[in-house]
Symmetry: C2
Subunit: 291 residues, 2 copies
């Protein structure tokens, strides 16, 4: 086993869940953890996600084979820059950020170069509408996709780091994930559609309900499963989504505009046969992709 | 017990589920059922939703204390007209249709008049993205709202029908429902927001995914819970929603337009502090209404 020591910087929902999944699936090495909010690291330790909550993340990173960066995208961007000069071949930095283009671009400046540590971008397609180590779950990644974004640069990382990378790629499979590789820009476009757009739909719809009915009690008591599902992500924290909106703006804006136009098309055709075509298209997608 | 015989005309998902819930919760009388598709009635009988699948729905209705109309809204509109002259005081027609204004208006022509049967509009806020008696469930209504739309006309129904109506109003409580009364126009406005708009969001989003990615296999494998939830209602049958779109057009169009504008507002503010306000509004709605 090449990976003996892991440092998780950012022990919120995804970071802590990764630690729990590692231990659940037999990782026998040592996991240290750090979070800008010490309470998060303490909770992660209490929940068994990490062996040790450290106060010096750079020192912990320097002593680790694998450094996993969690938290919002801007936080990961900062850590990539801070850690770059500190790490060496034989070490690998990976992340769990929701946007990959900006991260891979940043990593290219500091990693996968001669004499430097390796970087391999990653993104587990799992999450909750509530963050934090308290909501972490060893089974969060079961049946989810864990995306990697190998690039010409990552394939060129030093051999000693590649050994870590190849071993790390095995772990999501043990967690029960489907593992796929995507080119970073394609990753960001696809995630805009399947993850970011659903979040912004839910935020827009839920904010609208708050504006329309916020002071009254009449909406929720009559709502059923559709309302619960459509507003669930309305609980998502802005702190996480601000960075995603800022770093994947174009792809998100394009998907939002397309949906606005589609909704307008439905609205203009509520009494025409065109409405049937929209239902049939949706039915077709679902019948091929019934989950 | 004033209700001894019930006729369910339209033994699809909701009609059959109502029959199953009645028997599950101790209804000891007789339930006959009819559906324009005889296979649906046969399935409802096999599943224990009705005692008997009848071939003459008008005769069954004339012999029943309570006639429950299921199926799409236009079908219910037709049955209201066909049954009106056939029924008498002491009988009650109710329905499970998703739109109430058009139905109550139609009913006012034939019911709740001197010498006529009573009508009380109803609407269980429960459903599935798949229809049919095969998907019926005695527990479908548990924890759901069952809305009634009493009107000055329904309060004026003949005493013998009112006795049936008051007894019928007890049954959803036995099913585990919250029972609420709403004025029909208010019902249609609120349901546009909490039920019809979620359906059209899901249809638009799912149809868009089919257009963008229909011939490729790359979207669904990477999607998580958010994608599953946002596309679930994409399976809903047009046959049911055509009538809802046609009979609640103005309220649905108004909610769609409001959402289009809200999505455009988000899109134009992906990099501004205004995005935070939208997330906070959505968070506020959810924190008050956490389900």
């Amino acid at each position: 086993m090449a990976i003996q020591r892991i440092a998780i910087l950012g022990t919120g929902l995804i970071g802590a869940s990764t630690g729990m999944a590692l231990r659940e699936h037999g990782f026998s090495g040592h996991i240290s953890g750090w979070d800008p909010n010490p309470q998060q690291a303490a909770t992660a330790q209490e929940r068994g996600a990490i062996h040790e909550a450290v106060s010096d993340p750079i020192s912990a990173a320097k002593q680790s084979d694998l450094i996993l960066l969690g938290g919002p995208v801007f936080t990961i961007l900062e850590w990539l820059e801070r850690l770059g000069p500190e790490l060496k071949p034989g070490q690998l930095v990976t992340d769990v950020g929701s946007v990959k283009g900006a991260l891979v671009e940043q990593a290219a400046r500091f990693y996968n170069l001669e004499g430097r540590a390796g970087f391999l971008g990653g993104h587990p397609m799992a999450g909750k509408e509530v963050g934090g180590a308290a909501n972490a779950d060893a089974d969060l990644f079961k049946d989810a996709a864990w995306l990697f974004t190998e690039t010409p640069e990552s394939y060129a990382m030093e051999t000693a780091s590649r050994e870590i990378a190849d071993e790390w790629r095995e772990w999501p499979l043990k967690f029960g994930c489907r593992v796929l590789d995507l080119e970073p820009a394609r990753h960001d476009m696809l995630c805009a559609w399947v993850s970011h757009l659903p979040q912004f739909i839910s935020t827009a719809f839920t904010a609208l309900l708050e504006d329309e009915f916020g002071s009254k009690d009449e909406v929720i008591p009559i709502g059923g499963r559709a309302l619960r599902e459509m507003t669930r992500l309305g609980s998502s924290p802005f702190s996480m989504w601000r960075d995603i909106a800022y770093t994947n703006t174009d792809a998100i804006a394009a998907s939002l505009l397309a949906l606005e136009q589609r909704l307008a098309h439905l609205r203009e055709n509520l009494k025409t046969p065109e409405l049937r075509e929209e239902f049939l298209l949706a039915n077709r997608f679902r019948s091929k992709n019934n989950q």
